[in-house]
């Protein structure tokens, strides 16, 4: 049993921290989120140059050959700084699909561009009717010539406005919610028949509604097995959940530290409010929620390569824990800050909103409680 980090991992954390402290202060982040572009290409380029995007990509394919622990470290630090550039969509999700499902040719062609930050992907899986069921798909891909023709609508595709390519789940066979018949495709956003409507999300990110109308792709656009894509999608989304868990612990830590600090300086009735026992116990509960979330984040990160049922249970357990903890910590941080916690000017509300969105991503507490129970 060992929960310590290697020297390289500690160096990685320190260098990410240093970069974010110097260039990613809250006011800058707030301005960037509201800007026309919605992200900073130079920040993303820095991630690429410094190996953050390729941290968990094998060395043979342009990465540094690290593990999910490296991803965890980066995601946690990104959570502390509320990073909005699409690390999750690319370093975790797009790279995850290619690593687990790509042919050698696809890996060679596509992974280096992800590590290098040249290719930007977004993951178009959700549909208006599907809620969190990854198999609930009305988007279809029908065989045509050597390739496929895609039709359908994808909802709330986070990061799509920044992306050049979309990873799209579509049904090549089977009924609307069948486990079999799901196939994963890479689609150029500029391909004929792809249309997007972009909008901001409540946590300062950007998303699109994506319509696919007779979009044709070649057979080489398929990642993984035709019709057998659901297992791959579940594996990659479980990896995304582990990264989100790490990100959420970073955000929780900031909220807890900020709240404790505020309670020491804010005086009412002649006393720092942190002296009131009711608030002390509240902050102790926030602290315990955070520690429990860190523990479960380690657990899921270390179990991502376990056999399928074990991995799924770990991911669902983590998502439930961080969903509950994120809501509690977010709400109480706002409450203890009083009116100030409600403002756009202070960082507290922004962490609150990010944690709220993280609960929704890839299934909320209810969804993962059910999934966990069904696996037990």
């Amino acid at each position: 049993m060992d929960f310590s980090f290697t020297e390289e991992q500690t160096l990685l954390r320190n260098s990410v921290q240093k970069y974010l402290q110097n260039t990613y202060d809250f006011d800058t982040r707030r301005k960037v989120a509201k800007s026309e572009a919605g992200w900073r290409k130079e920040a993303y380029a820095y991630f690429a140059e410094n190996g953050l995007l390729g941290a968990a990509i094998p060395e043979d394919f342009g990465g540094l050959g690290g593990s999910a622990v490296d991803t965890m470290i980066i995601a946690e630090e990104f959570g502390r700084a509320l990073v909005i550039e699409p690390f999750l969509q690319n370093a975790v999700i797009a790279a995850g699909f290619l690593k687990a499902g790509g042919t050698n040719a696809q890996k060679e062609e596509l992974l280096p561009a992800i590590a290098g930050g040249e290719a930007i992907y977004a993951f178009a899986y959700a549909e208006p009717q599907g809620r969190y069921n990854l198999a609930d798909l009305t988007t279809t891909a029908t065989k045509s010539g050597n390739g496929y023709t895609l039709n359908g609508q994808k909802a709330v595709v986070v990061g799509a406005p920044f992306a050049g390519k979309l990873i799209v789940t579509a049904r090549t066979s089977g009924g609307q919610r069948d486990a079999d018949g799901v196939t994963v495709f890479i689609v150029d956003k500029s391909a004929k028949g792809v249309s997007t409507r972009d909008y901001p999300t409540v946590d300062g990110q950007r998303a699109s509604e994506v319509t696919l109308e007779n979009v044709t792709v070649g057979a080489d656009a398929v990642i993984g097995e035709v019709g057998g894509g659901l297992k791959l999608v579940e594996k990659v989304t479980d990896e995304a959940i582990a990264a989100l868990a790490a990100e959420s612990t970073g955000a929780m830590k900031v909220l807890n530290d900020t709240t404790i600090e505020y309670s020491k300086t804010r005086k009412q009735f002649g006393t720092p409010i942190g002296k009131f026992q009711v608030l002390q116990h509240r902050m102790v509960d926030m602290f315990m929620n955070y520690e429990q979330s860190v523990s479960i984040t380690y657990m899921v990160t270390l179990k991502l390569e376990e056999e399928e049922a074990e991995r799924k249970k770990a991911a669902s357990a983590a998502k439930v824990q961080i969903g509950k903890a994120g809501r509690f910590i977010g709400q109480q941080a706002v409450q203890i800050h009083g009116g100030m916690g409600m403002t756009d000017e202070l960082n507290v509300g922004h962490y609150f909103k990010r944690l709220t969105v993280i609960d929704t991503m890839f299934g909320n507490v209810d969804h993962h409680l059910k999934r966990y129970a069904s696996l037990s």
Partner: protein, 394 residues
């Protein structure tokens, strides 16, 4: 004990229901206050009720044209919630108005009451300060007497809708040496007076609902002081304890749960209606039961008020439970819409692209916004202190 309404109460309900149906501003039905665009949107229903003579049934003669029993007021609130009429802004009719008719001179009543009733004068509340929130009596804004004027200096904050206000009622310190509560006076100040600056505060939902109001050597005539000098805390306390009826928001929460259920009937989970999902059913049931208990707590309070015992300290229960339920409803609405909880709907812009079903628009922002309810009006921690001290004797 009898849970039934009298035939008179039922007749009253029928009368108000018809009136509301025939007169409510249709374009505002069901819209949240954050979605109001024009100043007049806040005032339309106020003006209609004023014309009808139903604006201030709680006020004494000679201002009221009707006197309703607590039960009738309850019915009135229920029918308004059911029809989703705009809430009447409290700053004039429920706050400064009663202070003026209780503590004001005949001249002050004659000068200020008509504008409050007609809605022609918009009031805002100058209470909280950056350093004085839960501990309101620690406020620092000062008013120094100079001849027949006071000179006010300081800063107020969280001033709701001050951007529209014509007048502000202000608590300011007139005696720095007295005990905190004893050196405060209550002033009425024209927002057009030189030296007043209103600065918007944008909240985390993106909306502009509250403001900072700065006072820089603001000259206020002595005749704008209500009650005696240094007796402002009496007015403030009176205002806080006055008109607690409806504080629990039971009727509006009931209606909001109805809307939530309509929405859940349209949302899908694995091809089924979300409202038939066992987890969601249980959450809705728990919420409804919580609200039912609160409803009967409120009715008990009402009955004791009707028996002439006054609203009592139970109003803290109504505030705590009422706001917790309101917040819970917004959580479930947000959970109900799934991924369409993510899009940001800019309250300061018009006609932005709104993805997803109409009922999903802005739900996370509303959830975020409603966190304010356990902070404002005496935070829920303060309300619990009140119960511990005043009810439990701890």
């Amino acid at each position: 004990m009898d849970l039934n309404y009298t035939p008179e109460d039922e007749a009253f309900r029928a009368e108000v229901r018809t009136f509301i149906e025939e007169n409510q501003p249709q374009h505002l039905k069901g819209r949240k206050r954050g979605e109001y665009r024009e100043k007049e949107d806040f005032l339309a229903w106020h003006r209609t009720l004023y014309k009808k003579g139903w604006l201030v049934p709680s006020w004494p003669a000679p201002y009221n044209t009707v006197t309703w029993s607590p039960t009738q007021k309850y019915i009135w609130n229920e029918e308004n919630a059911r029809a989703e009429t705009p809430a009447i802004l409290p700053f004039g009719v429920a706050m400064v108005g009663p202070v003026i008719y209780t503590f004001g001179t005949p001249e002050q009543k004659e000068r200020f009451i008509p504008g409050i009733l007609s809605g022609d004068v918009w009031w805002c509340q100058g209470y909280s300060e950056p350093g004085a929130g839960s501990d309101l009596a620690s406020l620092k804004t000062s008013a120094v007497r100079e001849g027949d004027h006071y000179i006010i200096n300081g800063q107020k904050t969280w001033t709701t809708l001050a951007q529209f206000a014509d007048w502000i009622f202000v608590l300011a310190r007139t005696d720095k040496n007295a005990k905190a509560q004893e050196g405060i006076s209550f002033f009425l100040v024209d927002m057009k007076t030189p030296g007043i600056t209103v600065k918007p505060i944008i909240m985390m939902d993106g909306g502009h609902e509250v403001n900072e109001v700065w006072f820089d050597n603001v000259k206020v005539p002595v005749e704008n002081r209500i009650h005696e000098e240094n007796k402002g805390w009496t007015c403030a306390k009176f205002l806080l304890s006055h008109e607690r009826a409806g504080i629990a928001g039971v009727a509006r929460s009931k209606n909001a749960i109805g809307r939530l259920k309509d929405m859940l009937a349209m949302e899908k989970i694995d091809g089924e209606k979300l409202i038939d999902d066992a987890d969601f059913e249980r959450k809705i049931a728990e919420l409804e039961i919580d609200l039912t208990a609160l409803e009967y707590t409120e009715l008990r309070t009402l009955a004791s008020e009707q028996a002439g015992k006054g609203p009592g300290l139970e109003s803290s229960i109504l505030k705590i439970k009422g706001t917790e339920i309101q917040q819970r409803i917004t959580e479930l609405v947000m959970e109900g819409v799934g991924y369409y909880a993510l899009p940001f709907s800019d309250p300061l812009a018009h006609n932005e692209f709104a993805p997803g079903p109409e009922y999903a628009e802005g739900v996370t922002q509303h959830y975020a916004n409603m966190r304010k309810t356990s902070i404002y009006g005496g935070s829920n921690e303060i309300q619990r202190n009140i119960i511990a001290k005043m009810v439990l004797g701890l």
